[in-house]
Symmetry: C2
Subunit: 661 residues, 2 copies
């Protein structure tokens, strides 16, 4: 092992294993996760050449191979707990998406949730046994987050008791669904239902798209891969154009809405019933933000402990780059964010399960809060993590640009979370709608509960813009509780600002929609502040559950850093709201620097605690043993361009050129 990184581990003030247990949710969870990890890593069925050296078609091929093997092994081991399946899958594919993702994650669950018992009999077992391989075809070329705009039509023909599916325009071609291009032989297609001359809006239909024997596209089906992307090389995101494709009436998913044989339409009892998958996925993405950012931090921080560069003191050896304050300033707040998002992700999943339980008992009271929180936090955490991964990459200097660092791959795999499952700005505005509504309710004297309860208080105090000097400052920058309070007041202030701006616009103009649009910058800002408050509060609350004194101290330092660094990043807000004074802001900057040096000796241990094994992290820079340069050199030799001593282009172009000049 590299001597620098060994010394870092020896100098840590806490036991890494204790923190790993906290991150996993208990020692038994850690144990089980590692068992699953070992099953995958020791399985020769999952070995393959380095994906970086393969063409896209070969990468897709390797992924299908592994996914097929994975299905067999999961059945063999009897692994059926969703969390365990999730671990198994992400170990197999090293956190990358794979061609069967939508079959497992959307097609099967949709059947379970929206098919009638007869439909379950007809479709579920064939799908479970991969006779039917399905995907979920919602997004169209011209229509994304706003799904009401989808154009695909399903017109009922009572004479044959069939639906006729069509893509009437170029913009209506289904575009993006994973596994649609080459893998799936069925798709759940979202389409506008027409029957008896009326449109009844979007409904879901099971559409066979490829022959179950030959796998060739069926008549009327134009299907294929949408071409290479920034990442997702293993996935055949596809297009689907339907030309008078007929399916039996029984292929409309009819657990809720129905079309009778004669074409009579029966409405679903509620339109909130398909809501819950979306909320679940967004909540999961919060945890994914933590995972991706923590991987990037692990790579950058371990590398920064190994890398020596420049000089701090003339004549002395080059220092570890982790000793540079600017390097710490880049990486440690991101490390703190990774922890904050991890605990936030755990909270969201717990909240989801609790509220799902309530909903199944008929209690919808917390549904809106969950919806608003999952939308906003999905946007808040993915934006921070996406930018943060790139900061980590660039903090590795040039070597971060090499595929052997794994950082480009982590980035392109994670980045689409900002635009899929609801585009982030749209998500922030959905959260804002809830905040503004809550603000109005509080103004009207209604007592709010949950994460927005602070809006009650703001009504009591009638928060107003005050000159900084006029208010008595209460923020204690060394006390996390006081900082949570400051974040809360900032959120209250910005929600109020947005709500008042909206009212002001409404007074000036006729249209509610224009007023909303003209306030949208403030609305996004309010949602952002609300989410920031929730994350700081959740991090602080988590600390009360940590009993190991050394770990508690290390995490408290990170929590303080997270909160205070966020204040310097948003100092205008805190000054503007009169929550900080100018001299206090200087103290905050100073305190951030002290915290950086407190995190420094524990930095490697804090990333070790994430416990990603080398086989999973797959980074020459982030190796546990710190043998970075040997590993890079070994990797480079395997580059396809090194398979021959002289590249053929020399003989084809350069040699002939020499004779012409």
């Amino acid at each position: 092992m590299n001597a620098d990184i060994r010394r870092e581990r020896e100098n840590a003030s806490f036991k890494t294993e204790v923190l790993t247990h906290i991150l996993d949710g208990g020692p038994e969870k850690t144990k089980r996760r590692r068992e699953i990890e070992n099953l995958v890593i020791n399985d020769p069925g999952f070995q393959h050449e380095d994906l970086n050296f393969l063409s896209r078609s070969e990468r897709y091929d390797a992924a299908v191979k592994k996914s097929a093997w994975m299905i067999l092994k999961l059945r063999e081991y009897g692994i059926s707990d969703p969390e365990e399946i999730f671990f198994y899958k992400s170990f197999v594919h090293r956190g990358r998406p794979e061609p069967l993702d939508l079959h497992l994650g959307m097609f099967l669950p949709t059947l379970l949730n929206q098919a009638t018992p007869e439909q379950q009999d007809a479709f579920f077992m064939p799908a479970w046994n991969l006779k039917i391989i399905g995907t979920y075809a919602q997004t169209e070329m011209g229509h994304g987050t706003h799904i009401r705009g989808l154009e695909t039509t399903a017109t009922y023909d009572p004479s044959t008791q069939e639906f006729v599916l069509n893509s009437p325009t170029v913009t209506s071609i289904k575009w993006w669904p994973g596994g649609l291009g080459k893998t799936s032989n069925h798709a759940v297609v979202l389409a506008q239902l027409y029957t008896q001359g009326n449109c009844h809006g979007l409904h879901a239909f099971i559409v066979p798209i490829r022959c179950m024997t030959t796998h060739k596209p069926l008549p009327g089906v134009v299907v294929g891969d949408i071409g290479p992307k920034f990442g997702f090389d293993e996935v055949d995101n596809g297009f689907l154009k339907l030309e008078n494709v007929r399916i039996p009436r029984e292929n409309m998913l009819m657990k809720y809405a129905k079309v009778e044989p004669d074409g009579t339409y029966k409405k679903p009892p509620s339109d909130k019933l398909t809501y819950s998958t979306m909320v679940f996925i967004r909540s999961m993405i919060v945890g994914e933000s933590a995972r991706s950012l923590s991987k990037a931090c692990m790579i950058a921080i371990r590398y920064s402990a190994v890398r020596h560069q420049s000089e701090l003191r003339a004549g002395e050896p080059e220092p570890q780059i982790l000793d540079y304050q600017t390097q710490q300033y880049k990486l440690f707040p991101l490390l703190a964010a990774a922890y904050a998002f991890h605990f936030m992700g755990q909270y969201m999943i717990q909240m989801y399960h609790r509220i799902s339980g309530d909903i199944s008992q008929g209690d919808f009271s917390e549904m809106s809060e969950l919806h608003a929180l999952s939308a906003g936090l999905k946007a808040f955490t993915t934006w921070v993590a996406t930018e943060g991964i790139e900061v980590c990459r660039m903090a590795c200097g040039g070597h971060g640009y090499s595929r052997c660092s794994r950082l480009p791959d982590i980035y392109v795999t994670f980045a689409p979370t900002c635009t899929y499952e609801g585009e982030n700005t749209v998500m922030m505005l959905q959260t804002a709608r809830y905040l503004v509504k809550s603000y109005s309710q509080a103004s009207a004297g209604q007592k709010l509960s949950g994460m927005v309860s602070y809006l009650n208080e703001s009504q009591q105090h009638h928060l107003q813009a005050q000159p900084v000097t006029a208010r008595s400052t209460v923020v204690n920058i060394n006390d996390l509780t006081s900082l949570v309070e400051a974040y809360k007041l900032r959120a209250a202030k910005l929600v109020e600002l947005a709500a008042k701006n909206l009212q002001h616009e409404l007074q000036l103009k006729a249209s509610k929609e224009d007023a909303w649009n003209n306030t949208s910058i403030e609305l996004v800002r309010a949602s952002d502040a609300h989410c920031h408050y929730v994350v700081v509060k959740t991090f602080a609350a988590k600390l009360t559950e940590v009993h190991d004194a050394a770990v508690h101290l290390a995490l408290s330092t990170l929590a303080l850093l997270y909160a205070l660094h966020g204040m310097t990043e948003n100092s205008g807000d805190f000054l503007q709201a009169g929550l900080l004074t100018v001299p206090q802001l200087s103290q905050v900057s100073q305190r951030v620097k002290e915290l950086l040096s407190q995190v420094r000796p524990n930095a490697v241990a804090l990333v070790d605690a994430f416990d990603y094994r080398d086989e999973i992290l797959d980074s020459a820079l982030g190796r546990y043993d710190g043998n970075v340069y040997e590993s890079m050199f070994e990797w480079a030799q395997k580059s396809p361009l090194n398979q021959t001593e002289v590249h053929e282009s020399y003989h084809k172009y350069l040699k002939p050129l020499q004779s012409k000049l």
Copy 2:
């Protein structure tokens, strides 16, 4: 043409062509640029398959083919002006780097600048005619920006009058040079010179690395490609390990430093002589920031004019997404930054040529300012542009993630500017060193000139932290001159803050280096503010040269937006320095929104003016005619995964799996 985008062009308030001439530097320049563009676009020798569909080896092959053809054509047309060669090259490769970049941009110039007349005779013509293909091998695996740390050795052996070159450690292996892996048969190698038992620091040596007949690596030379990267697929960035490689004494570049036959070392007259290429490249990168960001803006803004999504008013058709305030807020400040950086880039090149002239006359007085400015602005503009390109990509929703948008490619091609030619944080600290030194000089009563002359004033006024309410505010937020003044005072304030922090640390601690490191966050912040000021000032100055009233108005709106948006982004600084009051800050936010709606009708014309032809922009989303969806669909059909109806992985893995379940 798409009706929306036609309407946008009809509604513009100015003539696009007039603005294009301003960007090019005059109508003749536009004409000549377009002539060159036509030469490239109409040349069948430059046609090739879409690079997105090729393997890396095929992409390298295609690039070598085009580069070889390019050399022939440049000779044929007699194009020799560096700016024209630059245009020709970037049209041929669509802005992507290529395998001969270092031969043309570093190897030949190094011979011209550092070789003796005898060496020129021996090496220049063979290199000009590509018998010798060279690269510039500086960076090592363990050593980047801090070049004094390089480990490669060149030891003089007087018995044979040769240098013996060695890579003594893994970290000393040359790593990253473009064209080194497969293309070059020679390299200029930077190595520590040892003669007569003493080390004389870094010197440059011409080292043959491949046989000029067979192109095979020479004995003792281990050379190859460093493997796939985030981008730069066309370039064979390489590694080079030297094992007792002997070269004649005459292969040391000896225009300045010399080693006599007996091994006697003669020092160069000055160590600043190799300085100028570095400064030139950094100045060029400022312009490259503008080019890359403006391409991204062109794609995102045109697409936002064509894309319809969601609803502003119930029942009405989906609006163009460019009508959403949040979309304008993402894109228009970046558009303004692209213009600002374009003018900044023009200024830097002019400044470079002016000061180079002075230097050749023996006047070094402005050299430090140029060096500091080029370092800081390189960092400032590349950071903003890198982030901005991704904002543009995500503003295109999911489709920005497709390679057909070109945005992923623009990002990965541009992103390394943040870490190469001097890592950005190191660059900011170099600028800070100049600023702090200037501050000390001003404090000591010395009169400063140039961009730092404001530090004279700050000494007169003794700027100090003042409570906001106590100062009489002078900033007029509608007046660009007043805003330039505010940026100037912010910079002065932050330079002062950094300088005082440094003094404070020095009082506390013994070591100068620790004090510097402990102030580095403030130092970077000061450099950032200085650069921001210079960019705002340069944009404002440029307006005085614009005589067309309509164009002047459009550009003034952008300049105001650039300045005011920067204030909202850094509101904490302006509040902290007492340059803005809280109510003024609200006015700034309000004014930014007004400016967004003023830019809106000209947005498409403002990107059209950049005048990138479809063939060069190569983006389905950014097409001039706005036929986005048809173009995407056509492109996707050509994806390699669509070459067969059924991918072989189906027969290999999925079909067999079905029978096992």
